[in-house]
Structures are given as structure tokens and as C-alpha cells.
């Protein structure tokens, strides 16, 4: 059944090439733009012949944007740092809170466990602004407005359900007999959890953590509503940068490349885990 006519082979190859072109071209083009000066970007017709320059990246890293009119300072590196703090912090907190809870939901069918698990999952699907808008008013009175702690707590809205549901599935796949055997040998539940359950669910925890990191990094609306300029991650910072720098297209492109590079590289490095997590646990292996 694997016999393909030469015509079909060619058509398939063309289709595949078109798919790759459509999905890769925007990234390719933005990278090219980031290596150009405004003069070559604004050429008409557009051309791929130019001498690459790293001036745009240098300007962003140095935090000074010099044009022939004036020079202004930019804080995009601060945005990058905020993204790192918020994403790493949220994933760490979500793992600490979520993995034990996932274990409890998987191993013990206790009263209300399904309800709690479903409530948490339903947050993933509810409109984020529904919670965020009242939170702006609460945060002000609680002193959490524009703090990393407040933001990391809100980021649990996306990170925690993800960790909980993916990791729970992995714990459910571990046979309870293995744990029973270990416990009969005289070990406490915590030792069992640490020595048996955690290592066996390791790949699932890695997949969930990775996915949570990417979702946190890519989040836009939480920080747009709850953070001022000094706490904003790259997603919000880039939008502000576009408004502020106006026509410095090369720098804008460089800022975008620097913002998307971490998640793209992470995805390349760990694509196997990612695909597993993204398939929603619907498919194993």
C-alpha cells in the first residue's frame, strides 16, 4: 500500500515545501530584518541582499537607541529579565503546589477531589479578564499591585491547571502495587513518594513544567493588566517598545527575535517532551 505514483510524490513534495514556507517565512523574515539598518529595510522593492549588522542588538543590549534625530534610553533588557523571573518563578511555584496535589488526586479518591480538580481545570478555560479586572482593584488594597509576588500568584491560573492535569495522568499510570511493596518494606509515604512516584512520573513532570514555562513566557494579558513598565515581561514590553520607538524597525525586529528565541530554542531542545504534553495526554508514547 506504500506505492506512490511519481506524480503523487512530486505533489506531496510541493505541498510540504509550501507548508514549510508558510510557517517558517515570518520567523526567517523577522530575523533578516533584525540584521538590517532602517535604510535597507525601507528599500523598495524589498531585497535580501544586504550587509548584516548587529547594531540593532547592540543598541538593545546597551539600552541606548541612537538615531540621527535624538537618542533615547530603552529598558528592553529589563523586560527580558522580568520574563525570566516571572516564568521561572511561576513554574517553580506551580510544581511545588501542583505535583503533591496531582499525586493526591491520582492516589486518593477523597471527598471533593474531583470537584477541586475540575474547578482548577475550568480556570484554564475561563476568560482571564473576568478574574483579572476585579483583581486590579484587590491588588491595590493588598499592596500586591505591580509586584513579582502578585504576578507569580496570578500566573498560577495557567501554570497550575496544566501541571496538575498532566502530572496526575502520569501518576495514575504508575501501578499502586509498586508503591505498596516499597511501603511494606518499612518506608514512610514521603520516602515512597520521593523514591518511587516522583522518579517514575519524571518525564511527565518535565513535560508539564516545560509547557507551563512556555505558556508563562508567552502570556500577555496578565502583565498588561497588572504590571507597570518596570515589571512587564517581553510580550507587553515589545508592544510598548513599538509605540515608543516609532520607526526604528530594525530594533523592533531585534527585540522580537530576542523575545521569541528562548521559547523556540527550548522547543527545539526538548521537542519530544513538548509534543507529548501538547497532545493533552490524549495519546501516549
Amino acid at each position: 500500500m506504500d506505492h506512490m505514483s511519481p506524480l503523487e510524490r512530486i505533489l506531496r513534495a510541493i505541498a510540504l515545501a509550501l507548508v514549510v514556507l508558510f510557517f517558517m517565512f515570518p520567523i526567517f523574515w523577522i530575523v533578516l530584518m533584525s540584521l538590517q539598518t532602517n535604510e535597507t529595510i525601507l528599500r523598495s522593492p524589498p531585497s535580501m541582499a544586504f550587509v548584516p549588522t548587529f547594531k540593532n542588538y547592540a543598541a538593545i543590549i546597551a539600552g541606548r537607541l541612537d538615531s540621527n534625530v535624538a537618542s533615547m534610553s530603552i529598558h528592553f533588557m529589563g523586560n527580558l529579565m522580568n520574563s525570566v523571573i516571572l516564568s521561572v518563578g511561576s513554574v517553580a511555584l506551580a510544581l511545588v503546589l501542583g505535583v503533591p496535589a496531582a499525586y493526591a488526586f491520582a492516589r486518593h479518591k477523597f471527598k471533593g477531589s474531583e470537584d477541586i480538580a475540575f474547578t482548577l481545570l475550568s480556570f484554564r478555560f475561563a476568560p482571564p479578564l473576568l478574574v483579572l479586572l476585579p483583581l486590579t482593584l484587590y491588588f491595590q488594597s493588598l499592596g500586591l499591585a505591580n509586584t513579582y509576588v502578585g504576578l507569580i500568584w496570578v500566573y498560577q491560573l495557567i501554570c497550575l491547571p496544566l501541571i496538575l492535569w498532566i502530572v496526575r495522568g502520569y501518576f495514575e499510570d504508575i501501578s499502586p502495587d509498586i508503591e505498596h511493596a516499597y511501603r511494606i518494606a518499612g518506608h514512610g509515604w514521603f520516602a515512597t513518594f520521593r523514591k518511587i512516584a516522583l522518579p517514575l512520573a519524571g518525564p511527565g513532570i518535565a513535560a508539564a513544567g516545560l509547557l507551563a514555562f512556555i505558556f508563562a513566557w508567552n502570556n500577555f494579558v496578565f502583565a498588561l493588566v497588572l504590571a507597570s513598565a518596570d515589571k512587564q515581561p517581553v510580550t507587553v514590553g515589545a508592544l510598548a517598545f513599538v509605540t515608543a520607538s516609532g520607526i526604528q524597525y530594525g530594533q523592533i525586529a531585534a527585540a522580537i527575535v530576542m523575545s521569541i528565541a528562548p521559547t523556540l530554542l527550548l522547543a527545539l531542545w526538548a521537542q519530544k517532551y513538548l509534543v507529548e504534553g501538547l497532545s493533552l495526554g490524549a495519546v501516549k508514547g
Partner: protein, 307 residues
């Protein structure tokens, strides 16, 4: 010996743990839950109020008035229509494209694996940043896509700045970002299908197109349904792409639920209307998410059973 000495202690602690441990373990998650349910309750309360931040003296309960007003409010109907159109078009386009690509990549080969890894890239790009990328590419002065349109004979194709093509532009960004998600899910589904029905059909000389309609599609349908529902849930709430691209403009062309509610809250400071809008969106997503979760769990059970 020492093991025996430990036994009574262990037994007592295990009895305690059997009842209390699950609660203790899930307590933090529970607290986060409550922390989120409080603002949700507040939103319900606001939606029943006449509440403009600019007129604090005028604040008071008006019960269902915010909701009743929607019936005669053309802006509301515009929001509903734009949101549904956006969600419907993106999901249909992404399903068709995603299924097509999954079928192309179905056979495991080095080229196919490489392409499917490449396709992860758009999905890993933050939607708000993807919108900015397309904004640069559709700039009327130097945008490469505007240039392509010129070559194709559209002299003044203005993408997101024209009311006629704004929707098309944001849908393009959505399709670029999220088609790979559907592709990944359907590809996983395709590769997990049993091979016997296809071998039998091939032996019987059933044409490939008919195999697709009669075997592949029905067996894949649970995956298609799950993917479609999941995307529909996200897409009807789309905010990032539209806000980063045009903030809902030009005019009210792209005023989807969340963008409209955001602007109501922060620009016209009409908290009551904003909360009521979000409650309606929440009701829609609540129904959809219940159907989705049921489907998803059934799919997961099936995948477990076969594994």
C-alpha cells in the same frame, strides 16, 4: 529489631495519613482555587451594578439592567458577531489545514520528523509577538506581504488598517500560530490508529480516497472533535493577537468580547458593563468547556485502554 520498634509508629501515622494526607497535599492548590474564586464572585457582583469609576456617586445595584441593556445595544451584537465569526473561521481553517498537514506527515521519515519539529516554532511564539511580526510584515511602506500583494495586483492592500481586511489579517496570524497545535494532535491520533483495517481495505482493493472517508476520518473523529473544541474555547476568547494588532479597530471591526471588556474597563471605566460582558463570555466558555472535558477524558481513557 529497629524495624519492629518502628512498626507501631508507622501504622499510626499511616492511619492518620490515609484520612488527612490527601487534603494536606492538595491544600495549596485549594487555596489558590479560593483566591481565584473570590475575584470571580466580585465580577458577578460588579456585573449586577451600575458602576462607572468616573462617577463613584452614581454607584449602586441595578440587578440585571446591564444584561437587559445588551438586547438593545448594537455594540453588544457587534461584539457577539465578531467573536463568533473569528472563532468559527479560525477553527474551520485550522482544522482543514491541520488535518491536511497531518496526513502529509503521517509516515515516519526523517524529512517528516524534521518538518513537524519546524512546525512547533509558530506555536512556541507568543501570540502577541506573532501579531507584531505580522504588523511589521504588513506595514504599507516596507512590509514584505504588502509587497507580495502589490505583485499580485492589489495596489493598495492595507491589511489590518482597512476595515475590509482587518479580520482576515488577524485570522491569518491565528492560523499561523495555532494550526500546528491541531496538526500535532491529529498527527498523534493518526499514528495511533490500528493498522489492520487499512491492510484489509488495501487487500480488498479499496481506493485510497475511499479509505480516507470510510476508515481514517471516522476513526480520527474523536481527535478532531477534541482539537476543534479546544481551539474554539481559546479562539472565542482571543485577546492577545487582536489587541496587539489593532486594539479592536479599525472602528469596531475587531471588538471581540475580551477586547471590548478591556476597553470598557480601562478607557470608558464602565465596570458594570465590562463585567456583564465577561459573564456572558464566561457562560459560553463554560458550556463549551464542559463538552470539551467530557470528550477529552473519554479520549484519554481510550488511549490508556489501547496502550
Amino acid at each position: 529489631m529497629s524495624v519492629q520498634a518502628d512498626m507501631p509508629v508507622m501504622r499510626r501515622s499511616s492511619r492518620l495519613s490515609r484520612t488527612m494526607l490527601p487534603y494536606l497535599l492538595s491544600l495549596p492548590a485549594l487555596l489558590v482555587c479560593i483566591g481565584i474564586l473570590i475575584p470571580f464572585g466580585t465580577a458577578v457582583y460588579y456585573s449586577l451594578q451600575r458602576y462607572r469609576m468616573s462617577q463613584p456617586w452614581n454607584r449602586g445595584m441595578n440587578w440585571g439592567e446591564n444584561y437587559l441593556n445588551f438586547f438593545t445595544d448594537p455594540d453588544f451584537w457587534n461584539t457577539l458577531q465578531v467573536s463568533l465569526t473569528y472563532a468559527g473561521l479560525t477553527v474551520v481553517l485550522e482544522l482543514l489545514l491541520g488535518l491536511g498537514i497531518a496526513l502529509l506527515l503521517q509516515k515516519r521519515s526523517r524529512v517528516n520528523n524534521f518538518v513537524s519539529i519546524m512546525l512547533l516554532m509558530p506555536l512556541m511564539t507568543a501570540p502577541a509577538l506573532a501579531a507584531l511580526m505580522f504588523k511589521l510584515m504588513t506595514n504599507s511602506n516596507f512590509g514584505i506581504l504588502s509587497y507580495f500583494m502589490q505583485l499580485a495586483g492589489f495596489q493598495d492592500f492595507r491589511w489590518a488598517s482597512s476595515p475590509d481586511t482587518a479580520l482576515l489579517t488577524v485570522i491569518l496570524v491565528d492560523v499561523w500560530v495555532y494550526t500546528p497545535f491541531i496538526m500535532i494532535l491529529l498527527l498523534a491520533g493518526l499514528r495511533s490508529l490500528p493498522t489492520q483495517p487499512f491492510e484489509a481495505a488495501a487487500l480488498d482493493g479499496v481506493p485510497r480516497l475511499e479509505q480516507f472517508w470510510r476508515i481514517t476520518l471516522p476513526m480520527l473523529s474523536p481527535y478532531i472533535l477534541t482539537a476543534a473544541l479546544f481551539r474554539l474555547l481559546d479562539s472565542i476568547q482571543q485577546f492577545d493577537i487582536i489587541y496587539a494588532m489593532t486594539q479592536g479597530g479599525p472602528g469596531d471591526k475587531l471588538m471581540v468580547f475580551q477586547v471590548e471588556a478591556y476597553l470598557n474597563f480601562f478607557q470608558s471605566t464602565n465596570v458594570g458593563r465590562s463585567a456583564a460582558l465577561l459573564m456572558i463570555l464566561w457562560a459560553i466558555t463554560y458550556v463549551l468547556s464542559n463538552i470539551f472535558v467530557k470528550n477529552w477524558l473519554r479520549l484519554r481513557e481510550r488511549a490508556r485502554g489501547e496502550a
